[in-house]
């Protein structure tokens, strides 16, 4: 009985990892506090929290607008302005630390045009980008999108690459996009930058990149059943044997 109680399920462990970091800490031990304003209402929160954990500390429970908590999924886009400043700032709630006097609002979702296309049937030139996203021609190079990007991507630069059909450069610049949508929410020309970037990268992947030679070789090897015998051995091996083989495996350098 006792053993069963201490053994946590995977779901319990995930839930625990996702709790605000201050859980279990006595409030009298917290030395630094800041005031933040969530949708206009003030809350005193510990200064070492991220916006996301501070909001949870304040009692909010996220069912949308939160994901990986590691700055990769792009679900927790946030807009804020600090008291006394004119600048409207943006960030990911899970990656931005709270500061005193932050006025916050979450952007859990961006209503954005997302056309359906078949890249196999589209020409590899600028016309495909203009066909699905003609509004890119409205870009006035104000650079507001780049200012909004929490990934520090030069968003405007890749939209300009889209306008001139430079798929390679577009793919290169936009590669780190996590599709949080903040660029599209700020754009005065109503461009949906991140979806333009995605179409561009897909086209580049399909037509621009060279087909890897080693893949062709490997597919031929698979078709010739080169590895079937080894796989059979593994499938029939005991757990102990598998552990032994795993420990003794040869790896390529990272």
């Amino acid at each position: 009985m006792a053993k069963k109680k201490t053994e946590k399920s995977v779901m319990d462990r995930i839930a625990e990892a996702n709790k605000p970091v201050t859980t279990g800490v006595d409030e009298k031990d917290i030395k630094q506090w800041v005031m933040i304003y969530i949708m206009g209402r003030g809350y005193k929160v510990p200064a070492d929290l991220t916006i996301l954990t501070a909001m949870e500390f304040a009692g909010y429970r996220f069912v949308r607008g939160v994901g990986c908590r590691q700055g990769f999924c792009g679900a927790c886009g946030t807009v804020y302005r600090k008291a006394g400043e004119y600048k409207l700032q943006t960030g990911l709630a899970c990656q931005t630390r709270v500061e005193d006097g932050m006025y916050l609002v979450q952007i859990p979702f961006s209503p954005a045009k997302k056309p359906i296309y078949n890249i196999q049937k589209e020409p590899y030139d600028v016309s495909v980008l203009l066909k699905y996203f003609p509004e890119i021609a409205r870009c006035v190079s104000c650079n507001t999108c780049s200012k909004a990007c929490p990934q520090d991507i030069e968003t405007m630069d890749y939209i300009q690459c889209a306008l001139r059909g430079d798929f390679e450069e577009l793919a290169e610049i936009s590669f780190d996009c996590i599709r949080c949508g903040l660029c599209a929410m700020r754009c005065p020309a109503e461009i949906v930058q991140y979806n333009v970037g995605q179409l561009g990268r897909r086209m580049y992947g399909r037509y621009g990149l060279k087909k890897p030679e080693h893949l062709k070789v490997r597919i031929k090897e698979l078709e010739a059943k080169k590895f079937d015998k080894e796989l059979d051995v593994l499938e029939k091996a005991s757990k102990e044997k598998l552990v032994e083989l795993y420990a003794a495996r040869v790896r390529e350098k990272d």
């Binding site: 006035v140 190079s141 650079n143 306008l163 001139r164």
Partner: protein
């Protein structure tokens, strides 16, 4: 090899790739390397005449910041539209201190404040002033003797006069280039008329009629072809000949070339540099071969 900062513009990279390819090859032949400015953006497309519309001057000015970032004070551009937009925005920027400050303040993320100190040079000006038509004539391998070429200035090379590359009322710069290549310039009354510009998007018929009239006039004065430096003029005069022919059955088609394509012919460059594959009306084989 002499190097010069080069602003291509979006159209030179897409539908007017024949303009860019021939331009780079011709300049190389003349000993000049066109160095593309890094991180350039659209020129702004049309110079905004609205007095309180500074937003539309960010694009041209940002490009001039990129020129400064290269350590250059001078930039060459080929497309008449890009040239005109960059030139006029720069002039406005130079003349209005308040606007200058506003634009620089808005672009606070740029590392340098722009001071209005980049010179924008249209490629024809560069050929006249920095290379010289005499030198070009010396480099001609295949003189285009007997070829009659009508220069088409359109609006953007000559107007307004502050942005004109030549005498706006009586220009001769393209004629002088044509002569240096051994060909004969043909004067005709439509040479600085408007091609109807962006009406081509919604009113093809109006453009078709204008194209018909321009080409008819050039033909009447004996031209074999029309020469331009504007991708929009080229499109309207060349590709819209299809609609012109539908509307006016007596329309006689005429090839429309970028000046760099004609230069490439005269300088003896390859087909891959001349790129007639992207011209809608292909220059007649006999016409070309008799001149090369």
């Amino acid at each position: 090899m002499q190097k010069i900062a080069y602003y291509p513009g979006c159209t030179m990279k897409t539908t007017a790739k024949n303009f860019e390819d021939s331009a780079i090859a011709v300049f190389k032949k003349l000993g000049i390397e066109l160095v593309e400015i890094p991180r350039w953006n659209c020129c702004g497309t049309v110079y905004s005449l609205t007095s309180d519309d500074l937003m539309h001057h960010l694009a041209p000015i940002r490009n001039l910041i990129r020129v400064k970032e290269m350590g250059c004070d001078k930039v060459v551009t080929f497309c008449s539209m890009c040239y005109n937009t960059l030139k006029q925005s720069n002039l406005r920027f130079q003349q209005n201190e308040e606007e200058r400050q506003k634009i620089n303040d808005f672009m606070y993320r740029e590392e340098l404040n722009y001071e209005g100190d980049v010179e924008i040079v249209q490629a024809l000006e560069f050929l006249r002033d920095s290379v010289g038509f005499k030198k070009i004539a010396e480099k001609v391998k295949n003189p285009l003797n007997g070829l009659k070429v009508a220069p088409y200035y359109g609006c953007l090379l000559l107007r307004p006069k502050e942005a004109s590359i030549d005498n706006p009322e009586d220009p001769s710069i393209v004629e002088d280039l044509i002569k240096s290549l051994g060909a004969e310039p043909v004067d005709f009354p439509y040479k600085n008329e408007c091609c109807m510009s962006y009406l081509t998007v919604n009113h093809k018929d109006i453009v078709a009629e204008r194209t018909f009239n321009i080409i008819k006039s050039a033909g009447k004065f004996g031209a074999d072809m029309i020469l331009t430096s504007c991708p929009l003029c080229e499109y309207n005069l060349d590709a819209r000949q299809r609609e012109a022919l539908e509307k006016f059955p007596d329309h006689l088609s005429m090839p429309v070339l970028y000046f760099t394509q004609l230069m490439a012919m005269a300088l003896g460059l390859d087909d891959k540099d001349i790129r007639f594959d992207l011209n809608y009306i292909k220059p007649d084989d006999k016409l070309i071969k008799s001149n090369i």
